[in-house]
Symmetry: C2
Subunit: 555 residues, 2 copies
């Protein structure tokens, strides 16, 4: 089979004006970036808001494994298949981060015959959103350090600054730094560090902001540190939210591209699904909802992280809740969850599959708790045996859930017809969305609810640090916010190797971090790396471009 980039390069890519026309937007309604990408200005979003809302389909998955699940691929293939069935479907997806592209990660633009294009551009600079976030993040950091240097009127304690710098690069050497060394003119020496840009609170803010006014208000609320007297200091105290909003004004506009089958895809924002909420921007989902009969979106990592956050953090801010939830699973990943070794996954193993099914089962049950119709998508791999596929379908069916095989990677929309039909049927069923918790519950209650209801924990336990932070949050009145749990994506629990559907464990909360601009409290249940590193042989060593501009080695 061809490589993803070869398929993408061989695709017939429509002029972006034609894609806009498919959702009844004129060339003047969009802001083109080259001939195959565009931004949707906020005025256009207002125009779209006059149209009725389509059905919202949330694609999520079992816990990710090294075997791969293909959630983005299914999301894209499902939309293509719906369009092929004469439904108007529009995709809302997260945009990829550049850093991992130079490292080792596969693209975040689907794969095989279910991709969004122009694939290379989307994975590289795209329309500059990440770079605008990096610039705004570091402008704020420079303004903070400049404040220290220019007399420190706010009495910010250099040891209690919580705003870090950011780069969209995998750069382990920047995780912990000392800055401000050298002469007095070089400012105040202090310890600092860099996160990857997608881990910046600005990314979460961009994805939750509804317009420029809301964006600026959220920026004003960002906590940047504490004074020597332990009083919180916010961006509003520096008076620079206007400048940061200016830097983010274009990044706030969702991006329009297309799939290989010319389905409109709105790709915008890509926060981490651990220390942030892991979903594309609200504006992108909203635009997709108004632009098509079906808006197909996905949430990061497994349903325990991404979908829970989509449903408890994001949905209350959307014009409507999902009408259908699709949980993506693969035979291979479930066998891995059931104990089969990664190297053996090509061999049939019904016992491991049956055992590993527990992972999918709990995700399905969890999603049903939200009162929304749930279906399963079995993303077929070439090595799956008929016996395995039959067994999995029977297991799902025995739990009263409908499922469909998908082969969109290999076949494009043709491989997604069954799932599309299933989604169409399910979306006619009544949905009665209910959130797992209410914001006015105590922080401990909210964390316990997620841990018990979604993760299968018996309860939570707070470290001394977390308890201290909890007292701070209560003292400051920062409690009436949703919880964003940061834990390993590989397990329901806080231990990466506890596969399947573990229960009875205690979830350890190590720290609580207020993200007041984003509007949630991050509960750290693990050692989350917010700045990745590069592998021994980074992808950068293989990436090349010829004299005509043709890229090779990207994926």
């Amino acid at each position: 089979m061809k490589k993803d980039i070869e398929i993408a390069q061989a695709a017939t890519v429509a002029e972006i004006n034609q894609i806009a026309a498919k959702i009844a937007l004129s060339p003047a309604d969009i802001s083109p970036y080259s001939h195959d990408k565009a931004k949707l200005p906020l005025t256009t979003l207002n125009k779209l808001r006059q149209r009725p809302l389509g059905k919202l389909v949330l694609v999520t998955s079992i816990n990710p494994t090294p075997a791969g699940e293909g959630k983005s691929t299914v999301t894209i293939g499902l939309a293509d298949a719906l369009n092929q069935l004469d439904q108007q479907a529009v995709i809302a997806l997260r945009e990829p981060s550049l850093g991992p592209v130079m490292g080792m990660k596969g693209g975040a633009t689907g794969g095989g015959y279910a991709q969004v294009v122009p694939m290379a551009d989307i994975n590289l600079h795209f329309t500059g959103d990440m770079h605008a976030l990096t610039a705004a993040n570091n402008t704020l950091a420079a303004l903070i350090d400049n404040h220290l240097h220019q007399g420190n009127q706010l009495q910010l304690d250099p040891k209690r600054i919580v705003w870090k710098r950011a780069l969209d690069i995998n750069d382990r050497a920047l995780r912990e730094t000392i800055i401000g060394l050298g002469k007095p003119a070089n400012g105040q020496m202090r310890s600092d560090g860099f996160d990857i840009t997608v881990a910046s609170e600005l990314m979460a803010i961009l994805c939750l902001a509804t317009d420029l006014t809301d964006l600026k208000a959220r920026l004003n609320r960002i906590l940047i540190g504490y004074t020597y007297d332990r009083q919180p200091v916010f961006v509003k105290d520096l008076g620079v939210a206007g400048a940061l909003t200016v830097l983010l004004k274009d990044a706030l506009q969702p991006n329009l591209v297309q799939t290989l089958e010319q389905t409109p895809a709105i790709i915008h924002g890509g926060p981490f699904a651990n220390i942030a909420h892991g979903c594309n921007s609200i504006l992108a989902t909203e635009a997709a909802l108004h632009a098509g009969q079906y808006a197909i979106t996905e949430a990061g990592f497994g349903a325990d992280l991404g979908a829970e956050k989509f449903l408890d953090i994001v949905t209350p801010q959307l014009p409507k809740a999902p009408d259908v939830i699709v949980v993506v699973a693969t035979v291979r990943a479930l066998k891995y969850n059931g104990g089969q070794a990664l190297a053996d996954l090509d061999q049939e193993d019904l016992t491991a599959l049956e055992k590993g099914y527990a992972n999918l089962q709990r995700h399905l049950q969890n999603m049903q708790k939200y009162g929304i119709p749930v279906v399963a998508s079995i993303n077929r791999f070439a090595q799956d045996t008929t016996a395995e596929l039959d067994l999995l379908q029977n297991l799902i069916s025995a739990d009263g859930v409908a499922s469909a095989l998908t082969e969109v990677f290999a076949k494009g929309s043709q491989g997604g017809r069954d799932l599309a039909k299933l989604v169409m049927t399910a979306s006619q069923q009544p949905a009665n969305y209910q959130r797992l918790y209410q914001d006015d519950q105590s922080l401990t209650d909210k964390m316990t609810t997620i841990a018990q209801e979604i993760y299968g924990a018996q309860g939570i336990e707070l470290t001394a640090t977390a308890q201290r932070q909890l007292r701070l949050l209560k003292r400051q009145g920062w409690t009436n916010l949703p919880i964003c749990i940061a834990k390993t994506q590989y397990s329901f629990s806080d231990q990466a190797k506890l596969l399947g559907a573990p229960s009875g464990f205690t979830l350890t909360i190590r720290d609580l971090i207020p993200k007041l601009g984003a509007g949630f409290i991050v509960a750290l249940a693990g050692n989350i790396l917010t700045m990745p590193g590069l592998p021994q042989h980074p992808a950068a060593e293989k990436i090349d471009i010829d004299a005509q501009g043709t890229i090779t080695g990207l994926f």
Copy 2:
């Protein structure tokens, strides 16, 4: 008078397709970025290369002063005036850096009624060139540190890495840092620092590269450090020039915008004029030369820095040398050079003007050494008296140079007609370009030539550090390259306060830095700050945006 941003916001901005049409390019020939900006793909540049070459006009100035000279404003106004006289003029300009915009600097997009638009966008993210450079610069840095971390096969000495990180932010706290702190997984601890992006060698490379192949070859030649055995290590040794070229592929394409009077302006690249060569990209100048009857370009800082480098470093790589050189001066700046205090410049002072004229006089004489017709542009300020203007015109005339008054800031093209006519006449005169030195002269000879012929020094003197570097350069055979002297822009000498036309001084060369990718040797004749800081009250405090997206406080 209205603020620059108010004038820009009130302007009638043509669709970029219409601007492209003015230089006979179709919508398919350009790559739009929104409706008012575009990139010129390399295929389009090849198309343009089939057309004849126009006249090349280089705009330069006296040494900059706090009184302001308005070089970019004159460049823009001159092109507008030529167009108004039915000549087809196209501008080639440097693109602004974002960092200073948040600090205190005025825009780099002209002023008053001689501006390029969309002014705010150009001063902010524009088409992402700076961000691509930042990403490529820091990807290389991360790859270097990753190499150290992953076994250091090349035996790079962490204390001898010369590649720094970069951000397009004014951030004094990042000038000197320690990175790689913390656990072993965080890589090798070492001292490092950040430059502002425009000071990165990548910016100089982007501005000198002629196509993707040349770009990649230059990237391969970048010196990143030395081994423990003091052997040089290059990007080619890391094998990542392909990936860096991919990151810069779009940034290599010049940007097309327009003036307030809808003159096509190609804005691309903006290297420092001290530690780099201070001119827009070769591709932009070349495109402008083929697109119009007149290509109007400018060089950074005064003629001693920017123009010298344009003529000795850039011109040999252009399809033709300048046909006319315009030296911009103002009465105020010359009076300042003649000793009048900044606060008193509104008062007539013919003595100071006559004394300060020495600065302009030497720049005019210097430019004449290149064998190209030279004219002077007196950029009129409202406070200039008739007696002052008469005196200045007489002084210039007495030196056998033609001059014209310009009032483009206040009047747009109407204020540039005299200069335009002067330039048209001068461009008919025979030009016989000759470089000041040849690359095969010794490094000392080349530096001495510039110091004596352009600066008026009696000679040069190398510090012990510079002498050591000179021996290294000779040993490595890195001598057959042009010289790029980095010194204060405020004086002909290496002392900022030595105004007018000092002579008899000795230029002290403190260090010699090989920029092998850019293809020149930087001779440091001063303490050049490559990462600016923010002032006590940064512009960011005043910049704002309303709910409709209208920006205020930018300039």
